[in-house]
């Protein structure tokens, strides 16, 4: 670990940034490069803007004496993934005009564009602003987009929980005027307030911070992977409060055992009116106790490990000014989304649309996601909800409109439910866009789900449910370490294989084999699936079977993620 007293370089950048201004304005008008200044690449993240380059073209461009093909990813902040059909149309139009790859739905219920060049960043952000949306704090060392179960069945509870998610998002949004000044040509105030950031302070958080609200029994937001989680407790159809969880997180580094994925601890129960205070207390505790020297040990999960849970809880309780009530019993049945038509308790209908890797595009011979959704948005009276698994819920369809929406879905090839295996699978962006990727994820997922689907079919289990996730690196953007089967990139077409997560996102998996080829992965899965087909117990999920049959040791807590890994790995 880095010397406790040496601040990480990013801390210096935050300090010098004058509340997230940096030299972004100068960078934007520098005509010689499509990049922004190095320090500004850190600052821009807090504005939801991430510099990337096309890695497939690096070598070729270097030979041509051209700098890398820089462009930017822009990510929205949409608490609970909600937007109106009008906003959807605006986002689509912006994606069409400025982004090279169209709109993508992220694993945190936001839209994301890739391939926006420097010169069009400003008009893109201004277009997003005109649609009454923003990208503030979508990345960076702050609270990111607040997630919320888009649970379609429980309309009244969803409304309440969703409103709280929105309120918390607003509460934890950075207060600096930098975003308005830089992107929206907002006035530069001369008499800045004395305290610019009442919650974050001048250097924000030590590391990214993720918050999610979940409505059981569906663990669609993977609440235990969030830094801060609120699990809705519903009694007789009414929301009575939340279990508060803290210290989840996926990110880790290959080969560095001081880093590990971790599931959140439950702190206790709060009533709805205590949510903002509890969140503020957790965030400020992390602000003051988090590690600012070593960014690999800076997430809240490590803060809790180093303080110890009792001391952490006590600190939070002191700050919030009340003690947690004892946590309530909760039951989750599965992660993932409800797909297809669901009738909600109030008689309104919702359609969960599966979108492979969240890529809203028209497939040459297949489903027309982009066109179909544009057509639906033009007539839809309800709203859209982007889901935590990169799908989309067409929410609030009145009975009398259902046939029309269903017709549009069918006309664009969107009505068919896909295999349950594909629906339960998720991948991150990875190559060629993400600088950290060591292998393909999104581009590889269709091949993987086809192959694994075929294996289950061959062993007599054609409709198998499985949570299977692929990421290009152990940063874990698609939350791989809770999946029953996870592949995490090591090198092109080589992955670490993890097994033994629980299908409802409440148990971490463990490394089974390191750095093996895709072919080897499939060989191994073939053997395991054969054995599962023959020896599983009634209703036993694949991840549970892997543990019971001794294929893999159970990971009972984050810090023992690296323990009991087989020598064969």
């Amino acid at each position: 670990m880095a010397d406790k007293d040496t601040l990480s370089p990013v801390e210096g950048i935050k300090t010098r940034s004058r509340h997230l201004r940096g030299t972004l304005e100068e960078s934007l008008v520098d005509p010689v490069t499509g990049a922004i200044a190095d320090d500004d690449t850190q600052v821009s993240k807090f504005h939801g803007i991430y510099q990337q380059d096309d890695r497939d073209r690096r070598a070729e461009r270097q030979r041509q004496k051209l700098e890398p093909a820089y462009s930017f990813m822009i990510r929205g902040r949409l608490p609970g993934g909600r937007c109106t059909p009008e906003q959807w149309l605006a986002i689509e139009a912006l994606g069409e005009q400025y982004a090279s790859t169209g709109v993508r739905i992220t694993t945190r219920q936001a839209f994301q564009f890739h391939g926006v060049v420097k010169g069009t960043l400003k008009p893109t952000i201004q277009g997003i602003d005109q649609a009454l949306l923003d990208t503030i704090a979508a990345c960076g060392d702050v609270n990111r987009n607040v997630m919320c179960s888009p649970n379609p069945a429980l309309s009244s509870v969803h409304r309440e929980v969703d409103a709280l998610a929105g309120a918390l998002s607003a509460h934890l949004t950075p207060q600096t005027r930098a975003y308005h000044e830089i992107w929206l040509d907002g006035e530069k105030l001369t008499d800045a307030p004395e305290v610019v950031e009442p919650i974050y302070g001048d250097t924000y958080l030590p590391r990214k911070f993720k918050t999610g609200f979940v409505i059981p029994p569906q663990n669609d937001v993977d609440v235990y992977t969030q830094d801060l989680g609120f699990i809705a407790i519903v009694e007789q159809g009414a929301l009575i409060g939340f279990n508060v969880t803290a210290g989840g997180g996926m990110g880790s580094t290959h080969g560095d055992k001081k880093t590990f994925p971790r599931l959140a601890d439950t702190l206790g129960f709060v009533t709805p009116d205590q949510v903002l205070d509890a969140a503020t207390a957790v965030v400020t505790t992390q602000r003051d106790f988090g590690n600012r020297s070593d960014r690999k040990n800076a997430r809240l999960k490590y803060t809790i490990e180093s303080m110890g849970l009792p001391a952490f809880r006590e600190q939070v309780e002191t700050r919030q000014g009340f003690a947690f009530a004892p946590a309530r019993e909760v039951q989750f049945n599965e992660s993932g989304d409800h797909l297809g038509w669901v009738e909600a308790e109030d008689g309104v209908w919702h359609f969960g649309l599966f979108i492979p890797s969240g890529r809203v595009r028209d497939h040459a011979q297949g489903p027309q996601y982009q066109t179909g959704l544009i057509e639906i948005a033009k007539v839809h009276q309800g709203e859209f909800r982007m889901t935590p698994n990169q799908n989309l819920i067409i929410a609030g369809v009145r009975v009398e409109d259902k046939a029309r929406v269903a017709g549009l879905l069918a006309a664009h090839g969107l009505a068919q439910p896909t295999s349950s295996l594909a629906a339960g699978a998720m991948a991150c962006v990875a190559l060629p866009t993400c600088a950290l990727a060591m292998a393909d994820a999104e581009r590889f997922l269709p091949e993987l789900t086809d192959e694994v689907s075929a294996l289950f079919t061959r062993h007599g289990l054609p409709d198998q449910n499985l949570s299977m996730r692929v990421t290009g690196c152990p940063n874990g953007c698609a939350r791989p370490f809770v999946a029953e089967v996870a592949l995490v990139g090591k090198a092109p077409r080589h992955y670490n294989l993890y097994l033994g997560g629980r299908h409802n996102g409440t148990r971490l998996n463990k490394l089974y084999r390191e750095n093996i080829s895709v072919e080897r992965v499939l060989e191994i899965l073939d053997g395991l699936i054969a054995s599962y087909a023959n020896n599983r117990r009634e209703g036993e999920a694949f991840g549970d079977f892997c543990i019971r049959s001794g294929v893999i040791a159970e990971t009972t807590a984050g810090p023992n993620f690296h323990d009991s890994v087989s020598d064969a790995a």
Partner: protein, 188 residues
């Protein structure tokens, strides 16, 4: 062409006329007139859109090697920033280490309206005049058909500003610069 995959006027002719393996003779006609100023402390203004930028690479390198104290200002233009910024990484490095004082860019097809190097010249007319009055030499390289005459006209306009916009007087000034070998062109 060094570093770029496109067919220039010459390479296209070569490809059209010859089979692979044919031996061809290439003559490089040394342009003895298109030379850097005698004194290293003279400022240099280089105008070279498209392939016209080629000689300015060696100009800037040569000046750096000489440790010339004069400033170097490049006007470059081409079709698009992302694909046609010839020798981009070299110019970036020269700007960083100071060998190139300044660069102004005109990418003609990145927006609706065409933007050419002469538009950039006009935008920076006042500073250009300062450089010229301080003894700077002007070099133009590239297309002889349209670019060079248009740049010529822009320079006359800029110089005319010293004479209440009298274009004839501006033209006389430019002719004087040419005779003093402070306005040199290598156009084709």
């Amino acid at each position: 062409m060094d570093g770029t995959a496109r067919h220039g006027a010459v390479s296209r002719a070569v490809v059209d006329q010859f089979e692979e393996g044919d031996e061809i003779e290439v003559f490089v006609e040394p342009n003895t007139r298109f030379r850097l100023p005698e004194h290293g402390d003279t400022d240099v203004i280089m105008i070279g859109p498209g392939t016209g930028v080629a000689p300015f690479r060696s100009f800037v390198e040569h000046r750096a090697a000489q440790e010339a104290t004069g400033r170097n200002w490049l006007f470059f233009g081409d079709r698009t920033f992302s694909e046609d910024f010839l020798y981009q990484s070299e110019w970036q490095a020269h700007l960083r280490d100071g060998a190139l004082t300044r660069i102004d860019l005109a990418f003609s097809r990145d927006q609706q309206e065409k933007v050419y190097v002469q538009d950039r010249l006009r935008e920076h007319a006042a500073e250009l005049l300062e450089w010229i009055e301080g003894g700077a030499a002007i070099y133009v390289c590239g297309d002889a058909g349209a670019m060079a005459p248009d740049v010529h006209a822009a320079l006359i306009e800029i110089l005319a500003a010293r004479h209440d916009g009298d274009l004839d007087a501006g033209a006389t000034d430019l002719e004087t610069l040419r005779r003093e070998r402070r306005y040199l062109r290598d156009v084709y």
